[in-house]
Symmetry: C3
Subunit: 313 residues, 3 copies
């Protein structure tokens, strides 16, 4: 049965509702692309003659570059469209954009938008396969998939693990997608942070809530740190970077509370000295760089999978 969010296997809008037998083959395909990337032996004809448009309403050099690379390596014609939020009149205009993209015979549409649900709205109106590259506080599915692939490569499984997601969970689409994926795969998720960033209401997502790093990290297999947006400080949710690091930063001492050789992860870009100590980010337990590598591979797998078997008429 197809999930509500990977509708008809045509779009990747979120991970909520996806099943293990949808996730595992996608990770297997991504694993094979990771190997092809290393040997520079990616077949160039997978997306030849296909048009991929990167439609970014929010800036993100890393994610845009990752999708651009994924598309180009598979032979697609890749076009970047950056749209300043200010010049958009919302609603109707987003639909006009959808109509334009249809008319241009777009095959794959990668969308980042500050409003939750914008990619889903577009997906209802475009003939292209839509990939959500991050929407508001909703989901960022390719990030969670690349995190999962990285974990699976090191720990051999995505089931039965204990994973701590630490920091600004309330505002994080990365956290939301990871919670859906990890609980679906049978792992236990802990959310760790101050009550302003990890309110008790998040428990409904099926995760345990901790307001202390010392308690939250005890015995976990994976420590996943989130980036602290600077506006959280100006808006008063966090007193200061220094205070934040003192109570919720990941340092060597706290990492020792996790399982020996627990994985350290971060979606990047990092605020070193704010949410994570430099020496921890660069330690042998860190798989942060591998996350970036798996990001390209996962995006190649998603682009390949969504277009495969789709006739082009």
């Amino acid at each position: 049965m197809a999930s509500a969010l990977l509708r008809h296997n045509r779009h990747l809008l979120g991970l909520e509702g996806m099943t293990p037998d949808q996730i595992e083959p996608l990770l297997d395909l991504a694993e094979s692309y990771a190997l092809l990337n290393r040997s520079r032996k990616v077949p160039r004809d997978v997306l030849r003659g296909r048009t991929l448009i990167n439609l970014f309403f929010e800036d993100s050099t890393r994610t845009r570059t990752s999708f651009e690379l994924a598309g180009k390596r598979l032979g697609a014609d890749v076009i970047n469209m950056s749209v300043a939020q200010s010049s958009v009149n919302k609603g109707e205009t987003l639909l006009d954009t959808a109509a334009t993209l249809n008319a241009m015979r777009t095959d794959l549409l990668v969308v980042r938008h500050s409003q939750s649900g914008a990619p889903a709205l577009l997906a209802r109106k475009v003939e292209a396969c839509v990939v959500n590259a991050g929407d508001g506080m909703h989901e960022h599915p390719t990030q969670a998939l690349l995190d999962a692939l990285t974990i699976r490569r090191h720990l051999g499984t995505l089931g039965g693990l204990s994973v701590a997601i630490c920091g600004d969970v309330a505002h994080s689409r990365v956290a939301r997608s990871n919670i859906h994926l990890l609980t679906t795969m049978g792992s236990n998720v802990r959310l760790v942070g101050p009550p302003t960033l990890v309110p008790g209401a998040l428990g409904r997502l099926g995760a345990e809530i901790f307001h202390s790093m010392e308690e939250g990290l005890r015995g976990v297999d994976v420590v996943m740190m989130l980036r602290l947006q600077r506006e959280r400080m100006s808006s008063g949710l966090v007193p200061s970077a220094r205070e934040y690091f003192r109570f919720f930063g990941l340092d060597r001492r706290r990492l020792e509370l996790a399982r020996p050789n627990a994985l350290v992860m971060h979606p990047g870009p990092m605020n070193r000295g704010v949410e994570i100590e430099s020496s921890v980010a660069d330690s042998t337990q860190s798989v942060i760089q591998e996350q970036v590598e798996m990001g390209v591979a996962v995006r190649m797998a998603v682009l390949d999978r969504l277009t495969r078997g789709r006739h082009s008429a």
Copy 2:
């Protein structure tokens, strides 16, 4: 005999002076590219090894994207060069830019510029084929060609029609190119709008002038709306968006004055509720989305045609 503006069949600077036997084969070629776009069967070697530079002195995501797609689908190496107007010292520097583009062995140069005549100036100095992608208040030839192709697909001809171009005609390069093409093909053009935007002097272009939508739309085959630039209001040429819509917006009631099934067109992006009512823009009479689709096809035909048979030495 080659037209003065498609000089030696090498550049496409405007439609003034082009003859029906130059226009029709270009539309035929575009029609064939429209079909190839739909079936994703565009031959990738038409422009292989050719360099296309998109030189945009004015921002235009839609037009730039349309040319970028056209070039990439035909296999060209496409480079986007956006040049902030402010940093340009006009005249001499434009010629230095031309010299640089020659030295880089540019084959196709797509130029948008706020000054009328800038593409023609460049065309005199570069070895590349120049395509005018809109210059000041002068011309926007590929827009008129795509409009013509869209009309021909629906009405079977470009001759003997009655076409109303409505709105800010005085400042519109889109209108100017359309007037040249449509009158050349034997159609009758009406210009409709307030005297500030449609002064009587425009009559010299061979079109009829109307200052009332009710009169101007009566019995026409095609209603072509223009985008109202917001600066027309700040400069006092138009009282307000609401007033404008009341007198010169295209709504259902006014559209009924035209022929049954008259085509509704707009070069985009639309100001819904200003120059056009949403329900009209989305009605079955609207071919606005098809205009975008034909835009890519027309640009492919132009790029193909200008370079065809040109030796590359």
Copy 3:
């Protein structure tokens, strides 16, 4: 023996320390690419499947475009990453960028940065071949190579010549790279300009210092003008554009002091009427446009040479 700066033939960070038998074959290869560019017969598979990232921390449309063209013509997947300096926290973050580029399996990294040494720092951390596209006041090696190729094409040699580099030498990475290359090849370099821009201390680079154009240009084979940055005037190093031109601009009268048919060069973009008279820039002695053409060819040669023979695993 490999030079310290073209380390293990893997990076091109600067020309200081390079030997004639490293420089000559690179120019020979560039010469062959110049011919292939003219005939549009560049083999598209030299960099097929390779990823080239243009990482520009400073804006430069010309240099970025030149590298983008060079990469695309050789078949590479080219990605532009423009990074606003302001958003970079220096040091650590540059290393995080390096880690990200490694993870993305970048093969070639072209870097421009306002800080001298930034490309060298990146080169120590990335697996990609790094090409310095201009760093602070340090070096701009591909510019000097393209200047050398242009000179060699006209004068048949790079040895035994007398070359005057005129203008803001103190702040110029272009001048620095040219001094290294020309003195290495056995030519005599004169630096000409006011004491504020050509301080006596530059004599340690092995060049003669002149504070008068009339003396400096006498009998030279090549006059290489530098661009005068406007901030030199606001910072008081130069009184005004008019004054500057009067004493240090290249005009017809001064050019006559050089050898008959001496070459006139400029790295572009020119400030006509400030450092160079328009009629001189456009005269038959000017090879400024050819410099741009050789720029693409030299960059193709560098990209080809650095990756050649490197296994991709």
